[in-house]
Amino acid sequence: MRIDCPCCGLRDNGEFTYLGDASPARPDGMDASPAAMLDYVYRRDNPAGPHRELWYHGAGCRSWLVVTRDTRTHDIAEVAFARDAARARDAEKAVP
């Protein structure tokens, strides 16, 4: 398997560390509820199909990446810097 790191190019998956689903957002702040945190930490959609997931290019540029990959075929539709995705996510959150 190879992942096309946005700055390093196609690299063997052995250069990366996998974390998991990128969809859950951390319930931030002092008023986050335990129930929301439980959901965030433990519950997963685990889809058979496209999956947005976090990978860390530890043996390369040390970027966290959001990879959209089909878990049945491994076809990768998109690879983005996690930081960019996170900023977009937070920007969205900020909109009332």
Partner: protein
């Protein structure tokens, strides 16, 4: 026909004429008291115990492909009860005990081979962790021996003791552990369940779970709707997909694990050995193939194939542990999709939906659990309450914090 030396000899003279299908390839009835989804080891064992222990015989096992096509048919066959944590220990020991009488119980030779499981340690810290585990086992009445280097050398002299990056200091040995012929477990339970009235329905994939007034009434399948008073899910790697049918999100991810078999060889190793400083474990099948494996690939996957990074990692582990493997050849490698749970331990529980039961989260270690899993799941379904042995395997443990994390790596399934 009962299986015995006598029947085998008789059939030898009759040109094997009188054998009949080992289990009935049943067609679905309109409804059942209990439907078990998943014709893997756990599903079949559950059906067997429902019939055998609880007298519930109006049972169907629905299998989307053929019986044994899942992980029961693709694992490295290691059975052991050398667990660490109180939630796990008695359950796996029960399983071990059920293995020990499996053949007599189901009249099928699944080749339960108690050749010993030896987990190697390479540092003092690892030794102490194994001592902690071994002592816990002994306290629970389970056999465990902590071996030093000389004792390990005597058992498996061909390992790399002298030039190793991580020298072997010793090992934790469970002599009662060993291997079981994987396919035979599926077939044997299928036959035993079928003989007791269970319908085994192959090529029948569940596509939906129907509810009325908050309770389960049946399942939609590729072979039509089938009614059921109770539905038990035992679909291993597909657990999340089934749960999604009733809008449940599970603390589970599906991951692929690769296993390997070498070409057939004359007897080389008569125990199961696990490397403690890399990902590698090995045993030899009765046919002569070295059966071995390592770590999971580490990414969510529903494709039963692994990739080179992991394959190399396993081979490196193999060579580091046992340099004599160099010229032996890998014959085949394959993958299985496993239900990796968030704490690495299983779930056998009723769900919040009445009539729906869940058996999942077996990670790469559920083969050894097959008999006890069937036993406990049957109990849970029959009594609508868990057995003491699976009392810790509850779904709510993640909320309460009573997680059972043998490895101590936390809520990250790919690290368990």
């Amino acid at each position: 026909m009962r299986y015995s030396l006598l029947s085998v000899l008789q059939q030898a003279f009759k040109g094997q004429r009188d054998w009949t299908p080992q289990w009935r390839d049943a067609a679905p009835k309109a409804s059942y008291d209990v439907i078990i989804v998943g014709g893997g080891g756990h599903g079949l064992a559950t059906a067997y115990y429902l019939a055998e222990q609880h007298g519930i015989r109006n049972v169907a096992v629905l299998e989307r492909s053929h019986v044994g096509s899942g992980n029961i048919g693709r694992n490295t066959t290691i059975v052991r009860s050398n667990y660490l944590l109180p939630g796990n220990v008695p359950f796996y020991e029960k399983s071990m005990q059920l293995w020990e009488r499996l053949e007599q119980d189901i009249n099928y030779n699944a080749m339960v081979s108690q050749r010993g499981v030896l987990n190697l340690y390479h540092t003092d810290g690892q030794r102490d962790a194994y001592a902690r585990r071994g002592n816990g086992m002994r306290i629970n009445g389970i056999d465990a021996e902590l071996l030093d280097q000389d004792q390990v050398r005597a058992m498996v002299p061909f390992l790399d003791f002298d030039n190793a990056r991580f020298p072997i200091q010793g090992g934790l040995l469970q002599r009662r552990g060993g291997t079981v012929r994987h396919d035979a477990v599926a077939w044997g339970y299928a036959r035993a369940a079928s003989d007791r009235g269970v319908d085994i329905i192959q090529n029948c994939a569940v596509t939906g779970i129907r509810r009325e007034n908050g309770r389960v009434v049946g399942v939609d399948t590729t072979r039509g709707y089938i009614g059921a008073k109770k539905v038990g899910l035992a679909v291993a790697g597909a657990s999340s997909q089934l749960a999604a049918m009733v809008d449940m999100r599970l603390p589970i991810e599906s991951h692929v694990l690769t296993a390997f078999v070498s070409e057939g060889l004359k007897p080389l190793i008569d125990t199961v050995v696990t490397f403690g400083a890399g990902h590698f474990y090995v045993s030899q099948s009765d046919k002569g193939g070295l059966v071995f494996g390592g770590d999971i690939d580490g990414y969510n996957s529903y494709a039963s194939r692994g990739n080179l990074a992991t394959i190399e990692d396993v081979m490196e582990g193999g060579m580091a542990l046992w340099p004599g493997l160099g010229r032996l050849r890998v014959l085949r490698h394959w993958g299985g999709v496993m239900d990796m749970s968030m704490d690495g331990s299983p779930i056998i529980d009723k769900t919040h939906i009445e009539g729906l039961y869940l058996n999942a989260g077996w990670c790469y270690g559920g083969f050894k659990a097959t008999p006890a899993s069937g036993f406990c799941f049957a109990h849970t379904i029959a009594n609508d309450a868990p057995h003491a042995l699976n009392a810790a395997f509850r779904l709510d443990r993640f909320a309460t914090g009573a997680v059972i994390d043998e490895k101590g790596v936390g809520a990250q399934p790919n690290l368990h």
